[in-house]
């Protein structure tokens, strides 16, 4: 490889033990993330798609150090960051930021917008008091909130979109290199969602950012990302350029996801792959199915799928998939 990827995740496993009873006996583990590897180049936009409980958010939290990995490693600019102590981790916070899904609880309800954003500068002791205030106003302008109207508002007085803009301003004020967006728009209305997504695209260019975009909404991810990873029950099942994923989805789960997008025009309907509907729902990560974890819902599942986990198959330079079906093609 010629270039060191900005963020490199290798064989990441995150297991949570389950304790039960008075003696806190360990009765099992939740395999939230199991053997996930992918990397993001500088300036890239990696989209991570999957349903509820597929482990997307756990990956995000592990990257940011909120959750500690069970095994595997995460490298940032080639340096291992997955087992740092608190102090070194704190230094990294200005390089990596996260934007949460839940707009209503990600902002402290008892602080004004100005304080909410300024706090990042206070923590890292950047600039004088006046400079900090100026910087806050500048950031608010970047996210298209006029500072004179918003600086002294409480989050309760803001709409969902405005709250998310404040969250973006706060994340970007430290000039991070990587921003993890955990479902940044799923709590918002479509008309606002479009605004926020376009703003994020604009800011990415202006601040030269690298995004990890996590969402359950494939139509959003297809539009935002250059590379997409599809997750199912803690595992990546398919990774590819967004064009590849849309035009030539290989994994039956990816196909089902795409075909389930509720589209509105005839033109879009024609693109959708025609697939038989999936059975049932996503299983539990406590005792995940053996072999390919998707086999319990897969319309094409064979006996072999339940026994052995399929290996990665390279389709083209960027596109890889993990399914026995492909090997027969």
């Amino acid at each position: 490889m010629s270039e060191v990827p900005l963020l490199d995740i290798r064989n990441l496993k995150v297991y949570f033990p389950i304790y039960q009873g008075l003696l806190k006996k360990e009765v099992g583990t939740v395999r939230a993330v199991d053997n996930v590897s992918f990397n993001i180049k500088k300036g890239g936009l990696f989209g991570l798609v999957g349903e509820t409980a597929s482990g997307k958010t756990t990956i995000a939290k592990t990257i940011l150090g909120v959750v500690h990995p069970t095994s595997g490693e995460i490298r940032f600019k080639g340096e291992k960051i997955s087992h740092l102590n608190d102090e070194s981790r704190r230094k990294l916070t200005s390089k990596m930021q996260m934007i949460h899904q839940d707009t209503s609880s990600s902002l402290n309800p008892r602080k004004k917008v100005g304080e909410l954003i300024k706090v990042a500068l206070d923590i890292h002791r950047i600039g004088t008091a006046v400079e900090r205030l100026d910087e806050v106003s500048r950031m608010l302008q970047y996210v298209q909130l006029p500072p004179e109207n918003f600086l002294s508002k409480y989050p309760a007085a803001l709409s969902g979109g405005q709250k998310q803009r404040v969250a973006i301003a706060r994340a970007l004020i430290l000039k991070p290199e990587v921003v993890v967006l955990d479902e940044p728009t799923s709590a918002l209305d479509v008309s606002v969602q479009a605004k926020i997504l376009n703003l994020l695209t604009k800011l990415k260019k202006e601040f030269n950012l690298t995004y990890l975009f996590i969402s359950h909404d494939l139509s959003v991810v297809l539009n935002m990302s250059d590379t997409i990873g599809v997750m199912y029950l803690g595992e990546l099942v398919e990774v590819g350029g967004s064009e590849d994923i849309l035009v030539n989805p290989m994994h039956p789960y990816t196909r089902a996801l795409i075909s389930a997008i509720p589209v509105i025009s005839e033109k879009e309907r024609n693109i959708l792959p025609k697939v038989p509907p999936l059975r049932g729902e996503i299983g539990s990560a406590i005792n995940p199915p053996t072999g390919c974890r998707f086999h319990t819902r897969c319309p094409y599942a064979k006996e072999k799928c339940a026994r052995e986990r399929p290996n990665w198959v390279q389709i083209n330079e960027k596109h890889t998939v993990r399914c026995y079906l492909v090997q027969r093609f």
Partner: protein, 297 residues
């Protein structure tokens, strides 16, 4: 720059005004709270202006007018006189100073000790948290008045010692309350965001979590003022509080009980004032609960 600062200040001023008026709107809906505020304020004013209000200020001390003793309420002595012939109304106005002072200080001291401990136990958790919480349990399992009696027994009865004794039995409730609040707030996304921004635990604790735990604390403090007054009065009644002849409502009730039921006014009027203070504070507490709830919404 100066200009922006000025306009920012103006805006925040407007925001404060608005939230103030919004508060008045909520309170106005709650007639009982208004009544409570009215009664409590007049009691406070009465005590502050006692030297001017009291018809016989010297009666608050150790004056003795045996010729005037046991006079029933009349134009001269509106609430009557006690066994020493002292004007009861005068003594109530001065006595309220001691009673209300104890009522206000005890919960405040208790809350500041209790909240700090609760915050530490809830946020840092682990071993320190367990130690704090188990100590709290021990304190909660002993009747508070017994500990208070013990303390007064050691240090001797006086207003200062009552306040001290009751404050140290008061904090465990706050520790419990704050601990619970912090544990639920700790999981909020904004606490996680603060950590993701690189904040240290002390900052997260005092600047993110504490402000959100304050409303229930304030409500509890207001309600506790009532209890503290009652407890101080109870200690006074047992003769372990303020020493005579200093006036104090609980003590006045206690001293008058010997002459019941024929000479009822010596006990009844201070009793009514204790009741008024506790009742009005409780009404205010209820009103505050509504008010603070709305602000979070």
């Amino acid at each position: 720059m100066g200009k922006t600062n000025y306009s920012t200040k103006l805006i925040s001023c407007r925001a404060y005004l608005e939230s103030f008026f919004r508060g008045i709107y909520v309170i106005r809906k709650n007639t009982l709270a208004i009544v409570g505020i009215g009664v409590f304020l007049s009691l406070l004013l009465m005590c502050i202006f006692a030297p001017w209000l009291a018809p016989y200020p010297e009666d608050a001390g150790d004056a003795i007018h045996l010729s005037q003793s046991f006079k029933s309420p009349s134009m001269l002595h509106i609430l009557g006189t006690d066994q020493m012939g002292r004007d009861i109304f005068s003594r109530i106005t001065f006595g309220g100073r001691n009673t209300l002072l104890a009522g206000l200080i005890i919960p405040l001291v208790g809350a500041s000790i209790g909240c700090t401990l609760g915050l530490i136990a809830g946020y840092i958790g682990r071993r320190i948290g367990s130690v704090i919480m188990r100590t709290t349990d021990v304190f909660l399992s002993i009747p508070p008045l017994i500990i208070a009696l013990l303390v007064i027994g050691v240090f001797g009865p006086s207003l200062k010692n009552i306040i001290f004794a009751l404050s140290i039995v008061w904090w465990p409730w706050y520790t419990r309350l704050v601990h619970g609040e912090v544990i639920s707030l700790r999981e909020e996304t904004f606490v996680e965001s603060s950590r993701l921004l690189g904040a240290k635990s002390t900052r997260t604790m005092f600047s993110e979590i504490l402000p959100n735990a304050i409303p229930p604390i304030i409500v509890k403090i207001t309600l506790d003022i009532g209890y503290a007054i009652l407890n101080a009065a109870a200690l006074g009644f047992l003769g372990l509080g303020v020493l005579p002849p200093t006036p104090e409502w609980g003590l006045m009730v206690s001293q008058g009980r010997l002459y019941l039921p024929s000479i009822w006014w010596i006990t009844t009027f201070p009793g009514i004032f204790i009741f008024l203070a506790v009742f009005s504070i409780n009404l205010i507490g209820d009103g505050l609960r509504d008010l603070l709830d709305v602000e979070v919404m």
